[in-house]
Symmetry: C3
Subunit: 362 residues, 3 copies
């Protein structure tokens, strides 16, 4: 398989009609928040009532980024000549001029706030279906403690998905954090299943040494059984992982008292070779231990900084050797599924767009 087609910006590099993460709820306060999302310059702000909205970050008068302006009640005011725009993107005031011309509006993007996440839809507004958003309740539920992080990664978003969907990298990239025992990793039992537009990976490591994180968080010292359940859907991933003392029945379904972790990953494209990588991790133990939670946050960030270093080095090399071959391995099964799903979605979108144009001309 070549990684090339999906790295070529002119051929598109992401499906448009899916939900992406634009940020965390906690990031959007009084000031407008500027983000690059799927190639678009986006400004987000909250109306007086607290509703989160997203507009194109470009005044229709002279192109000034609206994010340099200020929010005032339900509108955002341009920092250059003072034009005002409401939550729908309509211009509602032009200083020194009573008439507002019909073209005076900026694009708005569907934005949904749920489970402490801001979901944005970069494609056709009419197709934006909130029911497609899968709930991730552990971000806010009282029986979980959740930590949040973001990294800007100078790489195509799919290289991040590839990374997550081939866990054989753990023992090489994450020696200091979640790597664990190399030999055990080689013996992992891995199951990969495609289900519609989802890919699921299940991975069992039985009777293995606990990695540094598990020692720190739960105090494991003897051998443990570990499981990892990954799910990709365009274009987010969730990752449930757990561990329990070896031989205490986890594999047979008895997970009570286990160390449970819920990870959520959202590699949101900024551009073809730049990604905002949002991630969260929730744990179900020592919920009142703020110090532990902070350690969990820092260890999560350290882990993904290890990935970032690898992925950026990989991206740089791929960019300069696009015509040279690559080979796929057995452990790439899941990321090959995921790339196929992405390609199919993009092909469907292109087909729909072409047929839409035909209808319009008929």
């Amino acid at each position: 398989m070549s990684l090339v087609p999906l790295l070529s910006p002119e051929r598109g590099y992401f499906p448009r009609n899916v939900w992406y993460i634009a940020g965390f709820s906690s990031e959007l306060r009084d000031k407008p928040l500027a983000r690059r999302i799927c190639g678009h310059a986006v400004v987000m702000f909250r109306t007086a009532g607290g509703r989160a909205v997203a507009l194109e970050d470009r005044c229709v008068h002279r192109g000034m980024p609206l994010s340099a302006g200020e929010r005032d009640g339900d509108i955002i005011r341009c920092a250059y000549h003072g034009l005002e725009f409401d939550a729908s993107g309509a211009c509602t005031k032009i200083p020194g001029q009573a008439r507002i011309p019909p073209g005076a509006r900026v694009r708005s993007f569907p934005l949904v706030e749920r489970d402490a996440l801001l979901w944005i839809w970069p494609g056709d507004q009419e197709k934006a279906d909130e029911s497609l958003i899968v709930s991730r309740p552990y971000h806010t539920a009282p029986d979980w403690a959740c930590v949040f992080g973001t990294l800007e990664v100078k790489a195509n978003w799919q290289l991040i998905a590839d990374n997550l969907l081939n866990l054989s990298h753990l023992q090489y990239v994450h020696k200091k954090t979640i790597g664990g025992d190399p030999d055990a990793d080689d013996r992992a039992e891995v199951t990969v299943v495609r289900d519609g537009n989802r890919v699921r990976v299940t991975r069992w490591l039985l009777n293995v040494e606990p990695p540094p994180l598990h020692r720190m968080a739960r105090g494991y010292t003897g051998p443990i059984d570990r499981w990892q359940e990954f799910e990709f859907e365009p274009c987010v991933l969730q990752f449930h992982s757990g561990a329990k003392e070896a031989g205490t029945g986890a594999r047979e379904g008895r997970r009570d008292g286990a160390m449970d972790l819920r990870h959520f990953h959202a590699p949101t494209p900024q551009g073809p070779h730049s990604t905002l990588y949002f991630f969260t991790r929730a744990h179900n133990f020592r919920l009142d231990d703020a110090e532990l939670t902070e350690k969990m946050r820092r260890s999560m960030l350290a882990t993904f900084e290890e990935d970032k270093a690898v992925i950026e080095a990989q991206q740089a090399r791929l960019l300069e050797t696009e015509d040279e071959p690559l080979i796929d391995l057995r452990d790439d099964a899941a990321n090959l599924h995921a790339r196929r799903i992405v390609r199919q979605l993009m092909a469907q979108e292109d087909a729909a767009e072409t047929s839409g144009r035909h209808l319009a001309h008929a």
Copy 2:
């Protein structure tokens, strides 16, 4: 109107046969001065007699920038192999070689020093007409105190002209400096006149609160009448502004005792999206107050740094959204005139060049 055509470098982005500002007299001392002017690498130096000259900053032997070399009497000597060039650009010495080949010369640019300004002509030498340079005596006259400043702005020069020709931005961009009273700004009486290749804007703000600058410089506390008289000619601008206690007859022509300011602005293109923005400001009061003069200089610089931030953000956004529409407002009348003048000049130059080529082939 689209800002796009004038942002496309391949279509040209400035008229060639007009005078531009290359610097201030005070900047050109013993050492050669390197500047990028209208896309050209230019080196300026003074002959032994003090005459300012401008040459292409590129040795004809191996391309070394002459500005890295040294001035010696009437010549400039290349820092690499020691070739010498006179004020006309002719090579006058090649070390180790008696014969100077006929092609051994670099381009020279017409350069005129007047009113403490260095005026350069990037177009056809034969068309360079010094009489086209309008005198700006307040730069050196004893009844004015003049301050000077330069900013490098990462934007097309016309975005700077646009900025100056639509003063409705004052109350949004310059709150802290010259912004004044928003409501008053909305009620400004504005007159825009095109006169040949000049555009004139006159703006009256009657009975308004004095902005911070006016309080600082003249101690106004009560309402004032303000006037602003802008004139654009390719490719410089002058801006006369004044203020007087409200209702004391300024509008009817009695400006005696007024606070008078003379501004001069020269946005000289370096490249399509980079401009050297020269500006000066002269005041007619408290001429012996060096501390005030320094305050005037700093407040001028602070004001144009506010513009620079806005214009660079605007340029960056325009560059990535060249195909998206923009709308014009009533307050853009003057900058639309200015852009039309520039386009016409460039079209005339292109036509003259084409016809010149035809004659040459006939």
Copy 3:
């Protein structure tokens, strides 16, 4: 002459089938060493037995730079998913997978270690002929003290060769180091000879003032006779220079007791406008004086930093004025020969490649 053709990357900018310097022996220790050589990302490492090898720095699985990995015995292990490659570039292990697919190999480059230098061949492996490497014994011989240095120069490698082959720059660029007496330089006796693919320049400066280096190193105070013998072969240069008290017979062949210096220069292209400039200098006197040796190293580095500044300024200007003319001087005879040799080699390589393709299709 135009410098342009050899600056255009798409037309090639170096002969492929010659030996280049990839580094010094002392640079290659336990860790893999990443270098950009003639456009290729190369990783070098030593096998358990100490043999230096060079591979393409790109894992065949997902493009990860192998140089981020670790050497282990005779193999290098990828930092991402743990694939292992031997000195020939063959993949010898894929974690979690017994079968190694046939395409699982990376390119290897011929690498020869000789005279404390690492020689690399970027062209066809079959043509790599070690006997073409000229010995430079003064790098390691006991009757010489040799110092080593490297600079990254943001310029085409041929501008460095040009610099070395026209020594008339000495008095302008190197006033503070090896420049000497300008008038004497103008009177230098220069002989230029082309011999096959080599160019030799001999230069005598008789009865001249000693430059700073000569005063420092040998204590010369009175006039000296100096000689400089340059030899270019694609794509390295050697430079033997010497000095003796004026009139003591050096010109007639009596060089006993002279100050002798052996320089070796290797401008190895990284890319079209970026070069790794390796240089060495050996002296034959005060061999036990470590302080002098360190002074010699520092003076060598200072000298080439002067060249680097000039060459980078030149390159930047040439890049933006590729279509403008340049002129050649008498003192360019040697570098015109060298450029001709390089062009001929490249033309021969292109012809051989074309004919090779014809044979393959016949």
